[in-house]
């Protein structure tokens, strides 16, 4: 074994060690205040915080809301993405879908929610376009569309925001499933498009996108920004209430917030367990369907248009909402029921411009560094796993995913405590390290399955031709993995760009990014400013994505089957 091999072998262990400390510190920072051991919890150690949580009359409603909106939006987003892929795969324009999706990934959740809110509110763009000539409304009607108690608006927003992410993940995994040939075989046996996809491609595909689906489920159940803007408030979802407690000016709500965060953690874990069980039920149903021999060709006539429509509506709503914010960013006075602003002004942009360039530079720097480190660690981990077999540490992998499901407001105090007591200087490096904690799991879940699904016979072939393991990795595997790697980079960059609380708290206010600016400004609810910053936040990673998608085409123009989509 060479020295490099020795080091590589240790990478999973090293990465675990590196990340376990901050993750455990963050988790301890949640656990201890919940039991009154730390933080300013009145009454000292005990279950006071849980009693306070129990006393909140909205608890049952909040838990139910988190559950319903989270599960419903994930099921819908998954069904829509799969339906779209099944309907469009191999058709002209399919590759274009991917290019459209990527910029949508980096739309900040708050901006997406505000855009949608402006679209569908009774005083929103749709109502304005139809008033007063069609509706007769000279003032907005008193209709409960946003913040509805059932969480429909919130579910719609989550579907619109999560479908692009899932679609991108599916597209990255698709090349490893040999989908085209499987579909051809299924079609030649007389299977319909959707049925053939479900029976031949889905099993291989789902195994690869399982982790991203779990991430979406966890995110949808714990989202704060979207729930704040689109969700109900009597009571709000559990995650919103946890944030409120954590932000209480009296400083005494932190224990209740921590207890709420633990309930939320248990809820997410429970739902993931049920989801896992449901997977086996679906598998059994698919097996039965396969054994029945029914070709399901009739399914396509209804199924495909439904899938397209269901995909189109949220996508169009999202785009129209963002376009609305873009118009707001240059709007002068824009009263109801005018469909367009009375005047155009660049005031918002000129006001924001001076700080924008520097903040954009910092944002990009942090994103590049944290994503590059995460990518190197994940690739080394996966390669080590491939060469030396799964490490015993792999069993502890769930630890890496904790930062994705523990609410950030509850997780960060512990992390901050660690940074402070380790004497880490506030500033850039500490913030990049904090970003890594949230970027790495996303890079891992974007890359792991496609990487593991790579056809190992290619390596054998390479070795037979005299290539060493290093050469196989650099010249065969990595080039063939380019599409998933670039998708992982895109996701990593988007995650880093979106971090607000870690940047603010760990950076001690010394590190100013587009997002710290944007979130501070959006607390003022000013659509004009939010519109301007949302465009910038989109533009930055979108440039990166554009590059990421164009690169494989440019580099591997001479190789078939390598490259995105």
């Amino acid at each position: 074994m060479t020295a490099t091999g020795g080091l590589l072998r240790q990478v999973p262990r090293l990465t675990m060690g590196l990340l376990a400390v901050p993750v455990l510190a963050g988790t301890a920072g949640t656990l201890l205040p919940a039991f009154g051991v730390a933080g300013l919890v009145p009454g000292g150690p005990g279950l006071t915080a849980f009693h306070a949580l129990w006393d909140w009359p909205g608890l049952a409603g909040a838990v139910w809301l988190s559950l319903v909106t989270g599960v419903a939006s994930t099921v819908l987003a998954l069904a829509i993405s799969l339906g779209l892929v099944a309907s469009l795969i191999g058709r002209r324009g399919f590759a274009g879908v991917q290019r459209l999706l990527s910029p949508l990934l980096s739309v900040p959740h708050a901006a997406a929610a505000l855009g949608l809110a402006f679209l569908i509110a009774p005083s929103g763009w749709i109502a304005r376009a139809l008033s007063p000539w069609a509706t007769g409304w000279t003032q907005p009607p008193d209709l409960l569309i946003l913040n509805d108690p059932g969480g429909l608006a919130l579910t719609f927003g989550l579907v619109a925001k999560e479908t692009p992410f899932l679609l991108l993940m599916i597209l990255a995994a698709l090349p490893q499933t040999d989908a085209a040939r499987r579909l051809t075989v299924a079609a030649s046996l007389g299977y319909g498009r959707l049925a053939g996809f479900a029976l031949t491609v889905l099993p291989a595909l789902y195994a690869q996108v399982r982790l991203p689906v779990y991430a979406v489920l966890a995110y949808a159940m714990t989202s704060v920004e979207m729930a704040l803007i689109l969700g109900p408030s009597l009571p709000p979802s559990l995650s919103v209430q946890v944030t409120r407690w954590a932000m209480e000016p009296s400083l005494t709500g932190r224990g209740t917030a921590a207890a709420g965060a633990l309930v939320q953690l248990a809820l997410v874990a429970g739902v993931l367990g049920v989801w896992r069980a449901a997977e086996t039920v679906v598998v059994r149903a698919l097996r039965r369907a396969a054994a029945s021999g029914r070709r399901g060709a009739g399914l396509d006539r209804i199924g495909q248009p439904v899938a397209l429509a269901c995909g189109l509506v949220p996508a169009l709503a999202l785009c129209a909402g963002l376009a609305g914010l873009a118009v707001w960013s240059v709007a002068g006075l824009w009263p109801f029921p005018d469909a367009l602003p009375a005047g155009i002004t660049w005031q918002t942009w000129t006001r924001a411009a001076p700080g924008l360039a520097q903040a954009a530079g910092t944002t990009l720097g942090l994103a590049v560094v944290s994503t590059a480190v995460a990518l190197a660690l994940v690739l080394a981990w996966l390669e080590a796993e491939h060469r030396f077999g799964p490490d015993s540490q792999t069993g502890a992998m769930w630890l890496l995913y904790l930062p994705l499901i523990v609410p950030q407001v509850a997780f960060l105090p512990g992390l901050q405590m660690l940074a402070l007591s380790s004497g880490a200087a506030v500033g850039w490096g500490a913030v990049a390290a904090a970003h890594l904690i949230f970027v790495l799991p996303y890079v891992f879940l974007s890359l792991a399955a496609p990487y593991r699904a790579w056809d190992g016979r290619i390596a054998v072939l390479g070795a037979a031709l005299g290539a060493g393991q290093g050469r196989v990795f650099w010249q065969l595997r990595l080039p063939m993995m380019l599409a998933p790697v670039l998708t992982a980079v895109a996701v990593g960059v988007a995650v880093s760009v979106g971090q607000y609380l870690p940047t603010l708290l760990i950076g001690g206010g010394r590190v100013e990014t587009l997002t710290t600016e944007a979130v501070a400004l959006s607390s003022g609810g000013n659509r004009r400013v939010i519109g301007a910053y949302a465009l910038m936040q989109m533009a930055l990673p979108a440039c990166g994505f554009g590059l990421a998608l164009a690169l494989p085409r440019l580099i591997f123009a001479n190789r078939r089957g390598v490259g995105a989509g």
Binding site: A38, W56, P57, G58, G61, A121, P122, S123, Q139, P140, D142, L144, L146, N147, D148, P149, P232, S233, L234, P235, R244, A246, M247, E248, P249, S250, L251, G332, L333, P335, F336, Q347, T348, R351, A352, P413, Q416, M417, L420, S421, V426, L501, L504, L505, G508, G509, R510, E512, T516, E517, A520, L521, S522, S523, G524, G525, N526, R527, R528, V529
Partner: protein, 400 residues
């Protein structure tokens, strides 16, 4: 013009202590030169951000102090940082030098010993503050500030309406209720425990309580149970007539302002008498918007800056706090084209040149003249706020 007795007293005091103060202050400005002060302040309003940047330019030019505005979504973010630093044993070199603060955040930080002070009363510009005429400058939600925070802006609750849609605004609380009942769906308030929503509840309490003086003492069970039923009766009566039949509420002051701008409601309110004029000047509200107050007065308070106990750049922070009390800076803040914040200074007692700056300010088309603004009612004791907000959540926190 006769110098008021209070200012005279302050002047005598200044003469006696003047030498020592001047020397001390010289030491502060010397120490401050070259420092970078990190001012953690809510960053949700571009106009306020611009104002802070202008103060920073002045601090740089006059004292060689660099001012960095750390833009927060909530003041609690800065409080959490200081608290974490204390828990981690970092008693010096803290990341937060100055916080924009008041009310409950101040009470909590002071009670936890997280603030440096007293410092405010040592500032050279302190004697200019209208302590007698604006008692809220030294009493923050009934809590004496004791020099642990320095005021920089006055705020008072005013109601806003569009005179193109509503010709005669209500004159008092009963009139406001009559408006709500006659115009279902055209009024709402931010959802408690949001501070502006709670302020509305306090305003109602002032209107329905037999003896509002009780609000100045810490809440007492018997008093509370006797005093609050009229408040709940009032809310029970108006809720069915509120926006969305009270099945949803705006989250905070900006959200309420947005509903008003979108014409979803006809009457809004804000904690800044100059907000409407400033919005009109910025072209975001129609120039037919006007403001009004309720007979008997509306709640008023002050915004402060405080210095954490472990601030790394204490001297620089004090220089900025003092600069915020400079008459030129205060006049700039009061300019309706800039912020429209009311000054904390006693304008009548200022030297002629400084006073002229304030006299030259236009009022703004929608801003009430000081004489029309009515009395500023004192904030109730913070314990009332907690109790009322908790009870609100218990009563109305679940959609009907």
């Amino acid at each position: 013009m006769a110098i008021s007795r209070r200012v005279f007293g302050a002047l005598v005091g200044l003469m006696l202590a003047g030498q020592a103060v001047a020397e001390d202050w010289q030491a502060v400005t010397d120490a401050a030169r070259g420092q970078t002060v990190f001012w953690h302040a809510w960053g949700g309003d571009p106009r306020i951000n611009d104002f802070i940047a202008a103060v920073g330019a002045k601090a740089q030019a006059r004292y060689g102090v660099t001012l960095e505005h750390v833009k927060l979504a909530a003041t609690a973010d800065a409080v959490a940082r200081v608290l974490a630093e204390r828990e981690a044993g970092r008693t010096s070199g803290g990341a937060v030098d100055l916080i924009w603060i008041n009310g409950e955040n101040f009470a909590a930080m002071k009670a936890q010993g997280l603030l440096h002070g007293p410092f405010a009363t040592d500032l050279p510009n302190w004697p200019l503050v209208d302590v007698a005429g604006k008692p809220a400058t030294v009493t923050d939600f009934t809590l004496p500030t004791e020099g642990f925070e320095s005021p920089w802006a006055m705020a008072q609750l005013v109601f806003e309406y569009d005179s193109a849609r509503l010709t005669a605004p209500p004159a008092d609380l009963a009139g406001l209720k009559a408006f709500m009942l006659a115009n279902p769906g055209r009024f709402t308030y931010p959802q408690p425990p949001d501070y502006l929503g709670v302020t509305f509840l306090k305003q109602v309490l002032y209107g329905v309580m037999a003896d509002p003086g009780l609000l100045q003492a810490p809440v007492d069970d018997a008093v509370y149970l006797a005093a609050t039923p009229p408040l709940w009766a009032f809310l029970d009566e108006i809720h069915p007539a509120l926006w969305r039949q009270a099945r949803a509420f705006p989250a905070n002051e900006p959200a309420l302002g947005q509903l008003f701008a979108d014409a979803e409601i006809d009457i809004a309110f804000a904690f800044n008498p100059g907000r409407a004029s400033a919005e009109i000047a910025a072209g975001t509200l129609p120039d037919t918007v006007r403001t009004f107050v309720l007979a008997g007065g509306t709640i008023g308070n002050a915004s402060f800056v405080a210095i954490p106990f472990n601030a790394a750049h204490r001297a620089g922070a004090m220089v900025v706090a003092n600069l915020l009390l400079d008459p030129a800076v205060q006049a700039r803040a009061q300019d309706p084209a800039v912020l429209g914040f009311q000054t904390v200074l006693d304008v009548a007692a200022l030297p002629a040149e400084a006073k002229a700056r304030f006299d030259a300010l236009a009022l703004g088309v929608a801003t009430l003249a000081p004489a029309d603004l009515g009395p500023a009612l004192l904030e109730p004791h913070a314990s009332w706020v907690t109790r009322v907000a908790d009870d609100w959540v218990r009563r109305y926190g679940l959609a009907p």
